[in-house]
Structures are given as structure tokens and as C-alpha cells.
């Protein structure tokens, strides 16, 4: 029994394991780099790093099988290996302080990357010159909103995340006088106008809509895309069912820019699928966007956006300039100049919330310090040895 325990422990503290894990990590990172050509940067993160196993498919089938350890697996084992080795062999000496610091930093770095993967949220904010927004939009997730628009002063919005639609379960919300029943959901689909003269395309989804524009539109499901410059545009058929029975089935899609409206229970309602929004307690207005180029070239010299921040509670009202390498940090969010559009009249910000941003800084400081101490010790030892060795060698040469 104790033999088994010992060999188990030996396995986890062994330097061989460290080396194997480092080698496997190198293979994983290299493979993921190549896979990026096919999967894009987000796809790679999900399929290679934020997973326990890299999955392959059995030849000729869709059955997933683990074919290689993923980022969580290798990172987790490396962490275990590190902790176990130090727990067993830990004896503080000054000679070891560099290694200790480096490894402490590494632990923090691994934990920080895990937290960033779990907590970091990315959004995008597009602003035309003169436009004001108090929300940013998700890169990858979408929502179905049902708006009670009967009050001219404000809208009463119920937002249903895409994930709930995907589950295709009936939904009942206290603020809605009807139930929402997702009938079909396509994570990425193209819309086209139906042509009465021609039959539906071979890959078209069954037409379920009975209300509004959905009756005239054909839905063609597309494979999910992972490309960096494309996004999935989901479509869904949703039936609304009131106490008296069905109101009808609508087609909703992020490809439709305009909401569809209808009247029910004496109120006007609007229905729309859109990019998921995150509302902020403040609004940004784009005052001016400028894009300088070097004379006689198309090489961009600078992009900058002059924006006005106004807090909802009136506590803040000021202008700021956001440009390359100089983001705006405000209320736990960071706004980066990510792009532009529309003949330089629209700015695109990337909006990031990353509560664990400070961890990598601390981790890296510890590690760099640790390496400096460790290799400094080596260097001093080397110089001393040389100084000690120089005398006899010189003597030998003269002899």
C-alpha cells in the first residue's frame, strides 16, 4: 500500500513528468498555431486551450474521441507537479530563492490564465460620429428581445439569451402576457427572399413562420464559423402562445435589422433578435474620429476618437481621446481603438472587462525576479570559479 502511495507520489513530483508536460505543451501550442488557419483564434482557444482534451472524430463518423491532452489538462498537471515537488522537497535556502520565486510566479500565471479564460468578457462598440450609446455588443452571443413599446417614454425590454433558445424549451416571463416557444433554432443561417416560381433550396430549413416577413423568407442553415473576421448569424422560429391560444410563429434573425411589431393585449410589442448587449451606467458620444496617413502612402499613422463620457447619475461629463496604444479605462472596462468603418466616420472600440488583469503582472514580476536571482547566482559562481582557476592555468602556460 505504502509502495503504491510512494510510486504515486514519485510520479507527481518527478522532474521527468515536468519535462514530459513541457514537451506536450510545446506540441499543443504548435499544433494549435497551425490549426488557427482553419479554426480562427477563438476556435483554437476553445478546442485546444480551454478544454481538458483536444477532440478528434472517429474516421467516417461524428463521434468525438480525445486525441491529445488540452490546455486545462496540461496546465493542471503542471500545477500539481509543481506544488507536489515543492511540498515534498521544500527547504528554504537562499540558493533556491530564485527557483522558488520563479515557480511561485508560474503558479500565479497559470491561475491567472485560468481566471482570464473564465472571467474575461469582450464586447464591441460601434459609434458613428455624433452618435451616443450606453451599451456595447457581444462579439459572439446574441439575444432575442421582446419589447413592450406602448409607453412613448420608455421601452420595457425582456431579453432572452441565445442559449435558452438553443435549448428549445418553452419560456414564461412574468412581464410577458404570453409564453415564448422556440420551434427551431439555427446557430448560423442565411436568409433569402422566397421565390414563388422556384421550389425551396435543397438545404433550406422547413418554413414554420406564419406572421410578418418570416412568411416570405427562406432560411438556409450554415455551418458554424470560427473565423476571426466573420460571426455567426443565428435564426430561430418562435411561437408566442397567449391564454387564448397561439398568436402565430415568427422568424427572428440577427440578419434582420428592423424589429417586427405586433399588437396584443392592447399593447404594441416589438420582436427582434440582435447581438447581445451589455448596458452601462454611462453613455459615450463620438465627437470626432480621425485617421491620419503618412503623406503619399496608405500606411495608417494614427487613428483616434474623441468621445464624451456622461455618467447616468450626472457625476461625470468630460471629453477623452482614445487612440492606438492609449485606451480609456473607466469603471472596470477598457475601451480600445480597434477599428473604423464607413469612410472614417464610424469608430469601432473593443470593450473588455477582465477583473483578473493584475495577476499576470504580479506573476511575471515574480518570475523575472526569480530568473534574475537564479542566473545571477550561476554567474557569480562562474566568475568566482574562473578567478580561482585563472592562476594555475596561467602558471601552466608559463611553465
Amino acid at each position: 500500500m505504502s509502495d503504491l502511495r510512494r510510486s504515486f507520489l514519485d510520479f507527481f513530483v518527478s522532474l521527468k513528468l515536468t519535462i514530459a508536460l513541457l514537451a506536450l505543451s510545446i506540441v499543443l501550442v504548435f499544433w494549435a498555431t497551425l490549426a488557427q488557419v482553419r479554426l480562427g483564434i477563438w476556435g483554437v482557444q476553445e478546442e485546444f486551450f480551454r478544454t481538458f482534451f483536444v477532440l478528434g472524430r472517429l474516421p467516417g463518423t461524428d463521434i468525438p474521441v480525445p486525441i491529445f491532452p488540452g490546455g486545462y489538462f496540461l496546465g493542471g498537471l503542471l500545477l500539481l507537479n509543481l506544488l507536489a515537488a515543492h511540498a515534498q522537497r521544500f527547504r528554504f535556502t537562499w540558493r533556491k530563492s530564485g527557483i522558488l520565486l520563479t515557480h511561485a510566479g508560474l503558479i500565479l500565471l497559470l491561475v491567472g490564465e485560468l481566471l482570464a479564460g473564465l472571467l474575461q468578457k469582450d464586447f464591441q462598440m460601434r459609434l458613428d460620429e455624433g452618435q451616443t450609446k450606453d451599451y456595447s455588443e457581444s462579439f459572439r452571443s446574441d439575444e432575442l428581445v421582446i419589447v413592450d413599446a406602448s409607453n412613448p417614454e420608455w421601452d420595457d425590454v425582456v431579453a432572452i439569451p441565445e442559449a435558452l433558445l438553443a435549448r428549445q424549451k418553452e419560456l414564461q416571463h412574468p412581464r410577458l402576457p404570453f409564453r415564448v416557444v422556440p420551434k427551431a433554432y439555427y446557430p448560423n443561417a442565411n436568409l433569402s427572399m422566397k421565390d414563388a416560381a422556384k421550389p425551396a433550396g435543397p438545404s433550406a430549413a422547413p418554413a414554420l413562420a406564419s406572421r410578418d416577413i418570416g412568411e416570405r423568407v427562406e432560411v438556409t442553415p450554415l455551418p458554424i464559423t470560427y473565423r476571426d473576421n466573420e460571426r455567426n448569424l443565428p435564426s430561430a422560429f418562435v411561437e408566442l402562445i397567449g391564454p387564448e391560444g397561439s398568436l402565430g410563429t415568427w422568424l427572428v434573425s440577427t440578419m434582420m435589422v428592423q424589429p417586427q411589431s405586433f399588437d396584443y393585449a392592447g399593447k404594441t410589442w416589438r420582436l427582434q433578435m440582435r447581438f447581445a448587449r451589455e448596458h452601462k451606467p454611462f453613455a459615450l458620444t463620438l465627437l470626432d474620429f480621425s485617421h491620419d496617413r503618412y503623406p503619399g502612402t496608405d500606411i495608417p499613422k494614427n487613428f483616434s476618437s474623441r468621445v464624451r463620457i456622461q455618467a447616468e447619475d450626472g457625476s461625470e461629463d468630460r471629453e477623452v481621446l482614445i487612440y492606438m496604444n492609449n485606451p480609456l479605462r473607466y469603471q472596470g472596462l477598457t475601451f480600445y481603438q480597434a477599428g473604423f468603418d464607413n469612410n472614417d466616420r464610424t469608430t469601432v472600440f473593443q470593450v473588455v472587462r477582465n477583473p483578473s488583469w493584475v495577476l499576470p503582472y504580479v506573476a511575471c514580476t515574480l518570475m523575472t525576479l526569480g530568473l534574475l536571482i537564479q542566473f545571477g547566482i550561476h554567474l557569480v559562481a562562474f566568475v568566482r570559479r574562473r578567478a580561482a582557476g585563472a592562476a594555475p592555468k596561467g602558471a601552466a602556460a608559463s611553465a
Binding site: 522532474l15 513541457l22 503623406p295 492606438m324
Partner: protein, 619 residues
């Protein structure tokens, strides 16, 4: 006698490096140097004509030397003057390199028709320009990354021809027989021409000849304004943007409003006439006078462009390439013969070459106002510089020519790589907005590049160990021990720098894009280097590898670093199509294979090592 060998070698090398300054004055009555120093704005940077001439020649034909059809050697500036002012003569210079057999077939040319069997003149290409244009447009529809070698060659050649034609449209209308007379006619015809065109628009009787003349000439100048490659006309002193330089064509058109010719246009017309007529005195006077008009406003910039001209002439990187080769040979021979004298000679020469590249890099930094590494070209210079710097330290410490050998070979290779990278145009480029941060360029990029240098150095020392051990009897126990220590020390150094550099990159990314780590190919490449170095260190600390294993691992570091440095860049362009194979990709692959072969040698059983006896003597 032998004792003086190192000093003699150093003296000869210094003389060699200094030669360009003794024969720098081109043998011509024309002040080519003065013209070469005139500043022009191209690609967003104010640079001397001399640089324009040299980079254009490099792009067109992959080298700077150029001869007239009569076999007379031309200074690059003289070549440029002919392109600018005597287009009909320049059209017969064979300066377009065409090597792809299918492109030659397309142009109905035989290799034998070309200078050096590969360089052709504009006149030779001219009959088939329409077909070339058609093929280039077909190729242009295909994504640049996926083009096959023929399509690439066609597109490149067309770009060179476009650039050549734009150069011709830069300073004077190339088909004008008498520029000054044409300009005079243009200015004098403006009042009548403008009146005639107005009258025609108002449907009143008008002078048809005057209207047609102003329209025809105006069109010609407009073409110059749009096509002219060189922005030579400085903005007026009152302009808010001192960089708003214009092409000559634009100011010729402005004469319609001002009714007079801009002095810059006149100056270049005068230069054109005197160059064509062979009147050096007049030419030299105009150069001097024109320069004097720019001097007060652009004094500081002109100091730079004058220096850049001298820097071009000195060609420090070219001379350093030659020196590094000699360093390597001297170091290798020192293991067989006169170890002290040859070893010291190679150290001296390596020091000289290193000082030379240091000066070259420092000059580039000063010209650009930037940290040393701003693009792939400068990274090649800097990797070489960093490695050789470390080699100098090793050599001073150990005096066994190992540092010199590694420094010679790495310095030589990186400069050759840099030369190939310089063929795509001016290497002093303007920074894109995303990268425009001197602080991060100076910290992250420099440190990570030193990390590359050190990893390569460890790898090349490993190669020396293996080659000397397997193929010669010269690897004795002491040398082997020294190499073992050197490689270990260098890997520690490499780990520190590649780690710190990668981390700084993460911080830059966090500061600029809001994420510390994005798993982007370049980041991954840097991470792999760090992981690999960490693996080597742990393997050694754990006693899992001994000297030979350490060398094999260090050699594999060469592959890892090359992947990170170049491979990741090719990925962005290349691997979208699996059929993609580019010359550079082949080169990378071939390099990786040689390294794998070396690792194989490292793992050969003892009996295949010729140095087994000398090595065993120590045990």
C-alpha cells in the same frame, strides 16, 4: 613573424572597410553626390535621391551594380538621372530581372538575350506589356498567399514596371524634347487657353487651337501629378504640415492659377536639360542653388539625408558579411594550425565586424528616430548583432575560437537573410499606427530579439560540438567541457530574455488591446521558445541529459527559433492553401532538416565519433 598576423589581419580589414570612402567620389564631372543627397519624400519618409536609386535597383534586379549596354559601369545616382531625365536611354538598360521560364516565354524572350542571362531592358519587355498586364490582372484576382510562382513572378514584374514608369513621370514629362521651351509655352498659353476653354463652355466662339493645347498639356501634367513617384516639391513655408510634399506634376498644374512656374519644377527642368546636353557646370550650379533653397527650412532633415547617402556608400552590412565569413574560416583553421595567432585574428576581425554592424544599426536608429527593431529586416540585423555580441564575450573569456566560429557563421547567415529581406524595397519604413510605440518597441521587441539571438547561439555552439566531435579529432575533453558550460550559460541567458521579452509583449497587448495573452501565432512562437529553453534547463538539472544530449536539445532550439521568427509569419500568409510552397518556406524546411540531421549525428554511438579517443582521455 607569426606574432604580427592578428594585427596585420586587422589592418587589412580596416583598409577593406574604409575603401568605399576612398573611391566614393564617382568619376564624373557631374556632381552626382550632390544630386544624390537631394531630399525627396517617398513612402512617407524624406530620403535622399541616392536611397531611391539604390532601393529601386535592388527591387528591379536584386543588386545595385548596373552597367550601360556598352558595358560602362554606372553609379546608382547616374542610373536614376537617366531614368528621370533620359527615359529613352534608360529604356535600353537591362535592369529588370526575369527568371521564371514561363514568364520569359510569355514575353517571347530567351534567357540568352538578357544581361547575365536574366536581366532585360524596358525596350525588350515593351512589345508584350499588354499581355503581361493581362496575366498580372488574372493573377491579382488570386489571394497573394495562394499565387503560384508564375503568378507571383508576373505580379512582381508588373509592379516593377509600374514603379519604373512612375519614376519616369516624377520630374519632367518624359516625352518632352525641350523641357524649358515646353514649360514656357505652357505658361504663356495659359491666359489664351483658359479664355478659350471658358468660351467653349459658354458656347461662344473660341480659339480651338489654344483650347486643345491647354487641355492636352494639362492632361499630361495631371498624369504626372497622379503617377509621379517622387514627392519633390516642398510645401510653402506657410504650410501647416511640413510633410505635405507634392509631385512636380501638381505644381505644373497650379500654374493655371498662378500663371508662373514653381521654382522646383524649373530647377529640375534645368537639371534635365544640362544632364541631357552634357553640361556639368550648369548641372552642378543648379544642384547647389536648389539645395540652398531647401537648406534653411529642412536643415536638420538634410543632415540626416546627407548622412544616409554616406551610409549607403559605406555599405557597412555588406562589408560585415564578408568579414564574418573570414572570421568563421580563420576560427575553423585555428583548430588545425596556429591556434593562438589565427584565433586572435578571428577575434579581432569579429570585433571589427561587430563594431561595423553596431555603427550601421545605430545609424538606422538615428535616421528613423526609432529603437533598433522595427521590421523583419531590422530584426535580422539585430539577431546577428546580439549573437555576435555574445560571441565576443565568450571568445574574450575562453580564447578557444569557439565563440568566433559561432559568431562568424551566425553573423554571416543573418546578414544574408537581411539582404534577401531588403529586396522588397526601402528598409526604413514608416511604422503602422498599431506598432507606433517607441517604448514597447524598445523593450519588448529588443529583449525578445536578444532571446532569439541567444537561443541561436546555443544551437550553433551545439553544432560546433557535434561536427568537431564526429568529423574531427579536435574535440578534446577541455574544449568539450568549455562548450558544455558555454551552452548551458547561454541557455540560461536565453531563457531569461525570451521569457522577459514574451512577458513584455503580453503587457503591451494588455495595454493596447485589453488582453494579456491571445494565443496569436507570433505569441505562441515566443512561448514555444520559452518552454523549450525551460525544458532544456530542467532536463539538465534533473540529470536526464549529459553533454551530448544538451547539444542535441540546443540544436533543436534552432528549429524552434526559426519557426517563431519566420515560420509564424509564413503561416499568416502561406498555409491557407496546402499546396502553398514558397522559396522562403523551402529554405526554412531545408534548414530544419539539416538541424534534424545534426541531432541525428549527436546521437550516433561513440564508435562513430572520431573524437572518441580525445574525449575519453579525460574520463
Amino acid at each position: 613573424m607569426k606574432r604580427f598576423l592578428p594585427l596585420l589581419a586587422l589592418t587589412l580589414a580596416v583598409a577593406y572597410v574604409a575603401t568605399p570612402f576612398f573611391r566614393s567620389k564617382p568619376r564624373s564631372e557631374f556632381d552626382l553626390e550632390g544630386f544624390g543627397k537631394l531630399p525627396v519624400l517617398v513612402n512617407g519618409r524624406l530620403k535622399p535621391m541616392d536611397t531611391v536609386a539604390r532601393t529601386s535597383l535592388l527591387m528591379f534586379q536584386g543588386r545595385q551594380p548596373i552597367r550601360t549596354p556598352a558595358g560602362e559601369r554606372l553609379h546608382p545616382t547616374a542610373w536614376l538621372l537617366d531614368v528621370l531625365f533620359r527615359a529613352d536611354v534608360a529604356d535600353r538598360y537591362q535592369h529588370f530581372e526575369v527568371v521564371h521560364p514561363d514568364v520569359l516565354a510569355l514575353l517571347q524572350l530567351r534567357a540568352e538575350d538578357g544581361d547575365g542571362k536574366k536581366r532585360f531592358s524596358y525596350s525588350q519587355l515593351a512589345p508584350k506589356l499588354a499581355e503581361l498586364d493581362r496575366q498580372a490582372q488574372l493573377a491579382a484576382q488570386i489571394e497573394a498567399q495562394v499565387r503560384n510562382p508564375f503568378q507571383k513572378a508576373v505580379v512582381d514584374l508588373r509592379e516593377h514596371l509600374v514603379l519604373y514608369n512612375r519614376l519616369k513621370q516624377s520630374l519632367i514629362p518624359p516625352d518632352s524634347k525641350d523641357v524649358l521651351a515646353d514649360y514656357q509655352a505652357w505658361v504663356q498659353g495659359i491666359p489664351a487657353g483658359v479664355a478659350a476653354v471658358r468660351a467653349r463652355e459658354n458656347k461662344q466662339p473660341f480659339d480651338e487651337a489654344a483650347a486643345n493645347a491647354i487641355l492636352a498639356t494639362g492632361q499630361k501634367f495631371e498624369f504626372m501629378a497622379n503617377m509621379g513617384y517622387l514627392l519633390t516639391v516642398a510645401p510653402p513655408a506657410s504650410a501647416t504640415d511640413p510633410n505635405a510634399w507634392k509631385p512636380v506634376g501638381a505644381v505644373l498644374l497650379e500654374a493655371i492659377q498662378t500663371q508662373q512656374l514653381h521654382p522646383t519644377a524649373m530647377a529640375y527642368a534645368g537639371l534635365a536639360v544640362s544632364w541631357r546636353m552634357g553640361q556639368p557646370e550648369q548641372f552642378n550650379t543648379i544642384v547647389k542653388l536648389y539645395r540652398a533653397t531647401l537648406e534653411p527650412r529642412y536643415a536638420e532633415r538634410m543632415v540626416k539625408s546627407d548622412f544616409e547617402t554616406r551610409f549607403n556608400t559605406a555599405a557597412p552590412f555588406y562589408h560585415a558579411t564578408v568579414l564574418y565569413l573570414i572570421v568563421f574560416l580563420l576560427a575553423v583553421f585555428s583548430w588545425l594550425l596556429f591556434p593562438q595567432e589565427l584565433g586572435r585574428s578571428s577575434l579581432y576581425l569579429m570585433g571589427l565586424a561587430w563594431v561595423l554592424t553596431t555603427a550601421g544599426i545605430a545609424t538606422r536608429m538615428w535616421l528613423e528616430g526609432r529603437p533598433p527593431v522595427t521590421n523583419l529586416y531590422s530584426s535580422a540585423l539585430f539577431v546577428g548583432w546580439g549573437t555576435v555580441g555574445l560571441c565576443v564575450v565568450l571568445e574574450v573569456l575562453y580564447r578557444n575560437a569557439l565563440g568566433s566560429a559561432a559568431g562568424g557563421v551566425v553573423g554571416f547567415c543573418t546578414l544574408i537573410i537581411a539582404h534577401y529581406l531588403s529586396l522588397s524595397g526601402d528598409t526604413l519604413e514608416m511604422m503602422r499606427a498599431v506598432l507606433d510605440s517607441n517604448f514597447w518597441l524598445a523593450t519588448h521587441v529588443v529583449i525578445v530579439t536578444i532571446g532569439y539571438s541567444a537561443t541561436y547561439l546555443a544551437g550553433f555552439l551545439g553544432l560546433i560540438y557535434v561536427f568537431r566531435g564526429v568529423f574531427t579529432r579536435s574535440l578534446d575533453a577541455r574544449t568539450a567541457d568549455a562548450l558544455n558550460r558555454m551552452v548551458y550559460g547561454i541557455i540560461c541567458f536565453a531563457t531569461l530574455f525570451s521569457f522577459a521579452g514574451t512577458v513584455l509583449g503580453g503587457i503591451w497587448a494588455d495595454q493596447s488591446w485589453g488582453r494579456f495573452w491571445g494565443w496569436d501565432p507570433k505569441e505562441n512562437g515566443a512561448l514555444i521558445i520559452v518552454l523549450w529553453n525551460a525544458l532544456i534547463l530542467h532536463a539538465r538539472w534533473g540529470g536526464l541529459v549529459r553533454a551530448r544530449g544538451l547539444m542535441a536539445l540546443a540544436i533543436f532550439g534552432n528549429i524552434v527559433t526559426s519557426w517563431s521568427w519566420f515560420g509564424t509569419n509564413m503561416l499568416g500568409i502561406g498555409l491557407h492553401s496546402y499546396g502553398f510552397m514558397d522559396a522562403a518556406f523551402y529554405a526554412l524546411l531545408a534548414f530544419a532538416l539539416t538541424q534534424v540531421a545534426a541531432i541525428g549525428l549527436a546521437n550516433l554511438p561513440d564508435r562513430f565519433w572520431r573524437s572518441r579517443a580525445t574525449l575519453a582521455a579525460a574520463r
